[in-house]
Symmetry: C2
Subunit: 72 residues, 2 copies
């Protein structure tokens, strides 16, 4: 099942959001279908077949403070 | 054997360097002994018993463009 999960991620600059984008883009075709990142809103949306928990772990590996907001 | 490995990491702001620091700090006591990060020099030094390859993989998981410079 494909769900869009929303995460709050502490991103300060475009280098920060670019790093998160790069990590998630590597998973395209491996469960991640689409990504949308808003630096001003500190929000990362991931359309994916992966669970929210798995996605949270993946995003946390970037070293960014991340919390799960919910499914859209 | 403990070696200090130097990496060039693309970091744009303190959020970037903080994320790299957080990831490496999680490995303290698990092979990482000391860390030094210079944002202006785009340089990350890691005193560690882990191999340069392992450290490179760990830092790359942050999504930052990273290259190995050498051992100190």
């Amino acid at each position: 099942m494909t769900t869009t999960h929303i995460f709050n991620v502490e991103m300060t600059c475009e280098g920060c959001s670019g790093a998160v984008e790069r990590v998630l883009n590597r998973l395209k075709g491996q469960g991640v279908e689409d990504i949308s990142i808003s630096l001003p809103e500190q929000k990362v949306s991931v359309k994916s077949t992966l669970s929210a928990d798995d996605l949270l772990e993946i995003i946390k590996k970037t070293g960014k403070k991340t919390t799960y907001v919910g499914a859209q």
